[in-house]
Amino acid sequence: MVNYGVNDELSLETKGTTNQKVIVAILLLIPMVVFAATPIYNFNGPQLLGLSFYYWFETLWLVISAIFYLGAAYMLNKMESGKA
């Protein structure tokens, strides 16, 4: 394909090994896929404090996704500093 860009970025290549990149990709993708796969949580039961599964599962995953994202952030920051 043709490159239309006037200025190609110079120092933006992500450092780090392929393994590290795969782990980061997985850490970021898991929460995104879970949230987008609505049929896996569109149920009434089991309920929690009178709340249907649909509502509490999505809310709980906000916390779980933060843990996944923190892991990814940690890896990316480490890769950026070049301390692989």
């Binding site: 043709v2 006037v6 200025n7 970021l28 609505t38 249907s52 509502y55 809310t59």
Partner: protein
């Protein structure tokens, strides 16, 4: 309930807020007639304040007013805000550190600076800037609705004129306060008051989500007292599955295309800080999820339902708070919701004005003095708020959430020029421009068609099965992307290798 006490607490805290806003303009003193000072606080905001700006953006009238309102009226589909928040920070982790680095390397202040350089086109840059500016307008209108909702309940309970008059008065007051505040304080004032806003809001959210469900007798009671809502009560009605998923993914892609969001990211001091604070932001979203559920809890409280039928569903959260707390706390919480609309609206208006002077006017009018630039930006920020008011006539308060989703349809059309250009040089400027136009036309046309060309009550277009309902923003973006990509390939095939040579010569 002592309505006078509510009013006094609200006003006292508001005076404090205004004082803070004005002292904010003197905070780490800078020359306020300079655009850099007014619009991006001279880029001297520490990481801490910048973090407040990004995180605080989550708690706006969208959270307190629009989402609970939509859930109350239409049901389960509007819980889409929760997975949307969950995904959008993943998107931000992938895109924002890269944008920050490019911006730092090339000394960019807005994302449109990058568009101008990448595509080497002033007109495409101006087009993308104007798109961002227009997309912010309905979002600002939503904030004004939020401010109005609080005032409607508060004034309505205090005096006994008819509700319609009160609502109008409340709207005018909200608008004047917003315009005056933005004009005088700039981003510096907004950043300083954002801290006060977040403290009040955190206290309110935590207290309210503990007390109200217990007082009402839990969600079980609320669910059992509910009538059947159009998109489902306990779960999402299967008919709306595609609508839900398209709202989730498109909103997640849209958030970090908004000028105010990018503004806040570019103000942060390092990529490492961007990653860590972004990773933690979904936890902020838990409050949003619980506030959304107030749209359901309201059904468990007859006194709240009576109030909502008097002042409209846009007052779902204020009505619940009013019915379950002592006067002083109601005043405190109402102020939180009020400035929760005011501060973000101000930040949005500043990012619009900044974008207009920097990326639309300046490239064509190079001999502007810095003082002129700032004067333009300040006056434009007022004009934009007047235009934002127009959206209030197109979309009624009951469907206030549709304002934000309309903004989404518009801002999504900048995705190829901003997000794709961030990672690739393969898009060509004419194809990107035509893709933008086609996407914008398709999105807006389907939006109007979905509402039978009347005032807007939905952003979902009904296709025949199996697609059923889809968010019009998705369709617009698909049309846009297809044209931009195919166009770039065709132009590339025609020009062959000559464009590579041309690119080298231009450099």
């Amino acid at each position: 309930m002592n309505n006078l006490e509510v009013f006094i607490v609200f006003i006292s805290l508001f005076v404090l807020f205004v004082a803070l806003g004005f002292s904010g303009s003197r905070f780490r003193k800078g020359d306020m007639s300079d655009l850099g000072e007014w619009a991006i606080a001279g880029r001297r905001l520490g990481g801490y304040l910048a973090w407040f700006l990004v995180g605080g953006d989550l708690y706006t009238a969208y959270t307190f007013i629009a989402i609970p309102n939509a859930l109350f009226v239409k049901g389960a589909i509007y819980f889409f805000a929760v997975p949307y928040v969950g995904i959008t920070f993943g998107v931000a982790m992938l895109t924002m550190p890269r944008l920050w680095k490019i911006a730092k390397e090339k000394n960019y202040v807005t994302a449109v600076d990058m568009v101008q350089d990448k595509f080497n086109s002033k007109s495409l840059a101006a087009l993308i800037a104007l798109t961002g500016i227009v997309a912010e307008l309905p979002y600002i209108a939503l904030q004004i609705y939020g401010m109005q909702a609080v005032l409607t309940v508060m004034i309505g309970q205090l005096v006994t004129v008819d509700a319609a008059t009160i609502t109008e008065i409340a709207l005018i007051i909200s608008f004047i306060i917003l315009a005056a505040f933005t004009f005088t304080s700039g981003l510096r004032g907004a950043a300083v008051t954002a801290v006060m806003k977040d403290v009040i809001i955190f206290v309110t959210v935590i207290v309210v989500i503990v007390v109200v469900p217990m007082a009402i007798g839990g969600f079980g009671h609320a669910f059992s007292s509910m009538k059947a809502l159009p998109t489902g009560n306990e779960t999402l009605a299967p008919l709306f599955l595609n609508g839900f998923i398209s709202l989730v993914i498109m909103s997640a892609l849209a958030l970090y295309l908004y000028p105010h969001a990018i503004n806040a990211v570019l103000g942060t001091s390092s990529t490492k800080r961007i990653r860590y604070s972004t990773a933690l932001l979904p936890i902020y979203g838990v409050g949003l999820a619980l506030l959304a559920l107030f749209g359901i809890l309201a059904y468990g409280s007859t006194s709240t339902l009576a109030m909502i039928s008097k002042y409209g569903p846009v007052t779902t959260v204020p009505s619940l708070i009013y019915n379950y707390f002592p006067s002083w706390f109601v005043g405190f919480a109402f102020l939180g919701i009020f400035i929760g609309g005011l501060v973000p609206a101000s930040i949005m208006a500043i990012s619009q004005a900044n974008l207009l002077t920097r990326n639309v006017i300046k490239p064509y009018k190079k001999n502007m003095t810095p003082q002129q630039e700032t004067r333009y930006a300040k006056y434009f920020s007022v004009i934009f708020k007047f235009i934002a008011l127009l959206f209030i006539f197109v979309i009624s308060a009951t469907y206030s959430l549709q304002l934000q989703l309309l903004g989404g349809v518009i801002v999504l059309q900048t995705l190829p020029a901003i997000f794709i250009a961030l990672f690739s040089n393969k898009l060509e400027k004419w194809s990107t421009g035509v893709g933008w136009a086609a996407g914008m036309f398709t999105g807006i046309y389907l939006l109007l068609a979905a509402n039978d060309f009347n005032s807007i009550t939905t952003v979902l277009f009904k296709f025949s099965t199996p697609l059923s309902f889809l968010y019009v923003g998705l369709i617009g973006l698909v049309v846009n992307l297809v044209i931009a990509v195919i166009g770039s390939l065709l132009v590339g095939a025609f020009r062959g290798t000559s464009s590579k040579k041309a690119a080298k010569v231009e450099q």
